[in-house]
Symmetry: C2
Subunit: 344 residues, 2 copies
Amino acid sequence: MASRKPTIADVAALAGVSVAAVSKVVNGKAGISAPTRDRVLTAASKLRWTPSAAAVALRSAKTRAIGMVARRSPDLLSADPHFTLLISGIEGELSPLGYGLLLHIVGEEPSAEEVAYRRLADERRVDGVVLTESRVGDTRFELLRTLDVRTVLIGTPWRADPVPSVQATGPARGVRAAVEHLVAHGHRRIAYVSGPEDRVHTLHRRRVFEDALAAHDLAPSHSVVSDFTAAGAVDAIGKLLAEHRRPTAVLFANDSMAVAGMSAARRLGVDVPGELSVVGHDDLPLGELVYPQLTTVRQDLIGLGRAAARVLLASLGEVEDASVDVRPPELVVRESTGPAPDRT
Amino acid sequence: MASRKPTIADVAALAGVSVAAVSKVVNGKAGISAPTRDRVLTAASKLRWTPSAAAVALRSAKTRAIGMVARRSPDLLSADPHFTLLISGIEGELSPLGYGLLLHIVGEEPSAEEVAYRRLADERRVDGVVLTESRVGDTRFELLRTLDVRTVLIGTPWRADPVPSVQATGPARGVRAAVEHLVAHGHRRIAYVSGPEDRVHTLHRRRVFEDALAAHDLAPSHSVVSDFTAAGAVDAIGKLLAEHRRPTAVLFANDSMAVAGMSAARRLGVDVPGELSVVGHDDLPLGELVYPQLTTVRQDLIGLGRAAARVLLASLGEVEDASVDVRPPELVVRESTGPAPDRT
């Protein structure tokens, strides 16, 4: 035996597995249990076999890391802690199993995102990736399929894209409850300030908003497309309040915009909620810090992060059960909403 | 040659380097240039040599990842985007070089933190780590020295701990400017609400606050130790406003507490800044969203993150110059501060 170099067949024979299984282990592919992987590595060690080079071996096998690539400017990232809550949820599942989260923040340029994913795949730095902010015409799924990277999406996929995804049950429930709350308080002129239209959830939520109003024979008084920034919200509220028949209530697509919009209204001398009711979306800690405290649609962001992590961990054979309870969205009524003003 | 197994000496000879250098490469130690590392790996590949087992090889060599372990509850993490800004700065330096940030959030339990660091080290998952929130009696430096992990601290080390660290120039400048601003506006009863006393910066900043007041023959009207949470700030402001001779101005140790405290004051019917001036610390996006907008001490958190990353990248031989400009703290005057009320 010492007279010839060991082959993959020798390793397979000693480990009592197929050559394909050895190949899967050294290439870090799915479908191999931890005990089998250990047997293969032990056999490889005994025979002093290495697939072709240490350099290749270095890049193989499980990394025990999950990747996340964020295409956001640093400013937007910190202004919207939505992302931080998702990360907390993901970490909650990864940490006990000794997995880490490998984070890449790449700015808004689309090519930078692709470069980051290619690098994660080519250098086998992660065992899978979590995608967020499902986009209209999303090309990430196709890219990651080509790269043969395990993927899970937090949110609703664009079209019927067959990508594993996690979503809350009853995703429409929260926005619908917000509309019911406002209508019950006598509001008839209700405006919507959305996020960018290239996000799948922007279109979904606006549709839910319109349908909920339609059930009361109402239509949106105004519909403004914004960009999730404070400046965008200030601009939107300025325009809405300058209207001849201005809205008595405004729903915003996230809490940062809602708080910025509420502050801008008050700076213009408009009382919240006396003259204008404001509703946010997400229920970030921010909404409780401010005065008046923000009425908002609570999303179970930590639950969504957990669920996404578990889907990946299950496909890696680390956990048996991929399911995590994600609480449905619900309306949290605080101080920023009240009865519609009389003079409307 | 084919009749015996290759040894580390064969690899060293073929690569034209010392045995120690080969050992360093396969163990992922510092002090090896990229070309040398490539030569060693190529030689190992040609000879089909592997240090002892594929399993060992898998864990060796550069990971092109930097680690960060956060000992925080998920809630506190999202309530204080301070951390997110540091991460953005770190990523700004790592991304162009293809490095990722491996993030572990471990909750408040000290042992969980140690487990996370040991795992990062034992499994060679990162090339170095960034520490934040320098603590009084910090044991992390000693641990990481034992584990032989490259370390850089953002902030002031506890005692003269010889750990590489990055700090803003003139760290006292911001809090001092805040005190000057308040004193110039006629405030004489100025309170301080600090973070936990186990943080090094808590002690530093409170000292700066006291010294700046002393320069005007003043002492703090009140000094409250809080915990960086909104609930803590609400509690603190409630106590301060219930005092017989209550303060006319309050400095908080972070922006989240300042905003929560300001909101609590207004809910109690106290006008800000008419009856109470409020100053935050950090200049997070939050401070611009609220009404009145927050006067705060700006920290260059992105610059600090960048600087920390560059110290590690320089020690890894990835960049030549470790220096990054970190802007000194400065006071940003907005709407939450004004003249002291007459009736004081």
